[in-house]
């Protein structure tokens, strides 16, 4: 019988309205590198949070057994003491502290509370040589590259005598050579007896590194197999494999003229000089079609359109055409004037002012329509808002209530009302149905259809393959800041899209 260091038994985790994990069970063998793969939203991150105590015991159903004992962790400290460490997608280092201070954060060698800096320095140097990182322990973390920072994170885990290391998308931000270094390091850790759980969208890395593979889909464990019994193609079909149900109100559209075009659009990386988030993308979107943009998280989909909108941290270069006319967009005001509107993926942070009313949110991007000489006309505001509430069937007790009292679906409709009121020619919908229930999703799809009929160019970014396939007329896939495929919706399947979305070797 296999020696499991970690066993998960029937883990179920519910959020209000959503079952993020349902009956997840699998075991991780001691000394193995165990891969966890699945689509965006399959439940990987939630599972990680259960294992490393972000959701404390009692917050989920089921049992986490570590080293044969059931864990009842209440705090992160207990998790760390047990020997479990997690390296999250976003690094958790203090940028303005030194490497040594970060490695021994809250774990400093000390005597009566007074830090022994010599010992800290020496210990840190040893740890850094173990992870193969050649920097001075006194170096400030901000001055290191992302790959090096990742190594510091690993050294930090080793300083705590880690037995089980969880790596959540560790290579997402790394260059090819950094990826190689990281994979070698994980391999060495394995040889020294550290067990790893490795999460990645990059299936090649998984095939290269891991011993066992567990597939998650819709919050459920689909299968756990040793690598030898799994191919990349099998992995992909297991990740996506499900039937398309009748969730999408697909309507026949007739493609019209080009309404939106990008030529040679490049966006530099905001933090890493010399790298690009978007690399020379050209694309066309037509009136009378829904263009779906598919790709994995971090591929650059949101960055591309945020940069076109003039709201990204760095300025994009390239040419933007709306209705055949070249437009110059320096900020969101220019974009709105040009007839471009983005319904952002993060409606709470970027789409809405939660403490403002339905009315105030609806008119916010078009105040000039409801005012003269800077003075608001309340009657006009009420008229417009009421019109859109009726038109897109927003359920709200009154147009004066604050939007944070509405459900997710109705909040999204308020964002759509705001978009519609600005009379957009081109509308970007970034994850338009994230976190909203099935009924509201259907309504939002119907609104999209209505807009297409009115001649608005609709570009939909989505991580949900079903949604992309169910609603788009044409699909582009983006990976690593480049377009890796263009498909007619009739020809595309989830497998084909997934293959294009994992990018690089697959194309």
């Amino acid at each position: 019988m296999a020696d499991y260091i970690l066993e998960l038994k029937n883990i179920t985790k519910e959020f209000p309205g959503v079952k993020a994990l349902s009956d997840v069970s699998f075991g991780v063998q001691r000394g193995h590198v165990h891969a966890l793969v699945g689509e965006n939203g399959a439940g990987k991150s939630t599972l990680i949070k259960v294992i490393c105590g972000v959701y404390p015991y009692g917050n989920y159903d089921g049992a986490v057994n570590f080293e044969g004992k059931e864990c009842r962790f209440k705090t992160i400290r207990e998790v760390e003491a047990a020997g479990i460490a997690c390296i999250h997608q976003e690094l958790n280092l203090v940028p303005d502290m030194s490497v040594a201070e970060n490695v021994f954060l809250n774990n400093q060698p000390h005597r009566f509370g007074i830090v022994n800096f010599d010992e800290q320095f020496e210990k840190c140097r040893k740890l850094l040589s173990q992870v193969g990182l050649d920097v001075n322990p006194d170096e400030i973390v901000r001055n290191l590259g992302v790959g090096q920072q990742q190594m510091v994170e690993i050294a930090k885990a080793l300083a705590r005598d880690v037995k089980l290391l969880l790596l959540d998308e560790p290579t997402a931000a790394l260059t090819e050579t950094e990826v190689d270094t990281l994979l070698d390091l994980v391999d060495q850790l394995r040889k020294r007896g550290v067990t790893c759980i490795y999460i990645s969208h990059r299936l090649d890395e998984i095939m290269r590194l891991c011993d066992d593979i567990t597939i998650l889909r819709d919050g459920q464990t689909i299968e756990t197999r040793p690598k030898e019994n799994m191919t990349k193609d099998e992995m992909i079909s297991l990740m996506v494999g499900r039937d398309m149900s009748n969730l999408f109100p697909r309507e026949p559209h007739t493609r019209g003229e080009v309404g939106f075009e990008l030529r040679n659009f490049t966006v530099p990386h905001p933090d890493i000089p010399g790298r690009d988030v978007i690399n020379n993308i050209s694309l066309k979107a037509y009136k009378g079609e829904i263009l779906g943009i598919s790709g994995l998280m971090g591929a650059g989909r949101t960055e591309l359109f945020t940069a076109v909108y003039g709201a990204y941290r760095t300025k994009g270069s390239g040419e933007i055409y709306i209705d055949g006319k070249k437009v110059d967009i320096r900020n969101p005001q220019d974009a709105l004037d040009a007839g471009f509107f983005i319904v952002s993926e993060d409606r709470k942070k970027l789409g809405l002012n939660l403490i403002m009313s339905v009315k105030e949110n609806t008119t916010l991007a078009s105040l000039e329509k409801v005012s003269s000489a800077g003075v608001l006309n309340e009657g006009a505001e009420v008229a417009y808002t009421t019109k859109y509430v009726k038109e897109i069937r927003t359920k709200t007790p009154s147009i004066e209530v604050a939007v944070n009292t509405l459900s997710g679906g109705n909040q999204q409709k308020v964002v759509l009302a705001k978009a519609l009121m600005s009379d957009p020619k081109v509308m970007i919908l970034d994850e338009p149905t994230r976190g909203i229930d099935v009924g509201a999703k259907y309504e939002i799809y119907k609104i999209m259809n209505e807009l297409v009929d009115k001649g608005v160019v609709i570009i939909m970014i989505s991580s949900e393959m079903e949604e992309i396939l169910g609603m788009s007329d044409r699909i582009l896939t983006i990976a690593d800041g480049e377009i890796t495929g263009e498909f007619d919706a009739k020809e595309a399947t989830q497998e084909i899209l997934m293959r294009a979305a994992v990018g690089r070797s697959a194309t």
Partner: protein
């Protein structure tokens, strides 16, 4: 569609504040044997509150954007001294002197605002720096002297009263305006089927407003009439309520304070609007400076010893403005200012040591914010 049930909208917060204020007044009245509620004292108290309210209005706008102005008191002081110098030493007429003050207020605000908005330095730091600079400026202008006296037409703004007959006229205008606004608002809402107030409620609101206005004017007229500073305050509050509630600019500053990213995404010119807020705040500091120096009949550097910006911040916060931005009403600043001044005034009347004033004011400030966080939690 079934008829929606009309639940009366009661502003719990304002109501609580008014109750607290009444309790404070009753307590002081009892403790001073009725001296606190003589019309003379109330007139005096409201005039003091007028000055703090005007500063509080500007501060409310600034805090609504998510900022803070630590320089307001010193800006006010500096402008006062400059105006005194203009008139006393420079011989400028009153209108020109006041114009110089107002322009200077705008300039100081414009400098602070553009550094905050365009350079991107935190408001706390920029206005802290400005506080020190203005304090230095004030001492430089006065060289420690008192610059006095002003002309009579200047002193008028701090010390005179409206004739009682004018006071009644003002009250009448206010009540008629309120009723007309209400009718207009209800007509618009009925047209769009979003009427959320019953006839009875509307009448009750108007009646309550009329009663309060008549009561206030009655009390003030019983002494000498409406003090000019109070009149100025009323005008300032009306104008700035209009600006903050009825203009695109007002809407923009609430949007910026509530969620600056969403405001940017909605195409709002964040930098321009932020700068404008600090300009208006500077302008109001100048208005307050006119009243302050007119009352003292001279420009002195004593303002350097005060902490008028803290009174203004406290008025805004007690009046319901949230330090996190996006929430707050200009009119709330009056309530906050009246409450603070009542405590000052009542306690000195009781001959209590001044340290008690600080302690009690501090407690009330913290309690007001605590009350806000509690009602917010209960609302969720």
């Amino acid at each position: 569609m079934t008829k929606k049930k009309l639940t009366p909208k009661i502003d719990v917060r304002t109501l609580t504040m008014i109750v607290v204020l009444v309790v404070i007044w009753v307590a002081f009245a009892a403790a001073t044997g009725g001296k606190f509620i003589t019309t003379r004292n109330i007139s005096n108290l409201i005039r003091q509150a007028a000055f703090t309210s005007i500063m509080g209005v500007g501060m409310t706008l600034v805090i609504v954007t998510g900022g803070i102005d630590l320089s307001a008191g010193m800006t006010m002081g500096l402008i006062g001294c400059v105006m005194a110098a203009c008139q006393v030493w420079g011989g400028l007429s009153t209108p020109v002197t006041i114009l110089v003050g107002l322009v200077l207020g705008c300039i100081i605000g414009a400098i602070e605002g553009s550094i905050i908005a365009y350079v991107g330095i935190a408001p706390f730091i920029v206005t802290l720096g400005a506080q020190l600079i203005c304090r230095g400026g004030m001492l430089a202008v006065t060289k420690g002297q008192t610059i006095a006296p002003f002309e009579k037409s200047y002193v008028f703004w701090g010390t005179e009263y409206l004739l009682p007959i004018w006071g009644w006229l003002v009250a009448a205008v206010a009540i008629v305006a309120m009723v007309l606004l209400k009718i207009n608002q209800r007509r618009a809402k009925r047209k769009h089927g979003s009427l959320d107030e019953s006839e009875f409620e509307a009448v009750a609101r108007c009646a309550a407003f009329a009663f309060l206005v008549l009561l206030a004017v009655g009390i003030l007229n019983n002494f000498q009439g409406i003090p000019i500073p109070v009149m100025v305050m009323v005008i300032v509050v009306v104008i700035f309520t209009f600006i903050s509630q009825r203009t695109t600019f007002g809407r923009s500053i609430y949007a910026i304070g509530g969620n600056i990213s969403a405001a940017k995404y909605a195409g709002i010119n964040v930098k321009k609007n932020l700068t404008l807020v600090y300009i208006l705040n500077g302008l109001l500091c100048a208005v307050a400076a006119v009243i302050y120096t007119a009352r003292l009949n001279g420009g002195t550097a004593t303002a350097a010893n005060g902490s008028y910006e803290l009174d203004a911040i406290a008025s805004a916060v007690i009046g319901g403005t949230s330090m996190t931005g996006g929430v707050g009403k200009v009119s709330g600043a009056i309530l906050g200012a009246v409450m603070m001044m009542s405590i000052d005034n009542g306690m000195s009347m009781m001959n209590m040591d001044s340290y008690w004033q600080f302690i009690i004011k501090g407690l009330i400030l913290v309690a007001a914010v605590w009350f806000d966080t509690q009602t917010k939690k209960a609302g969720k």
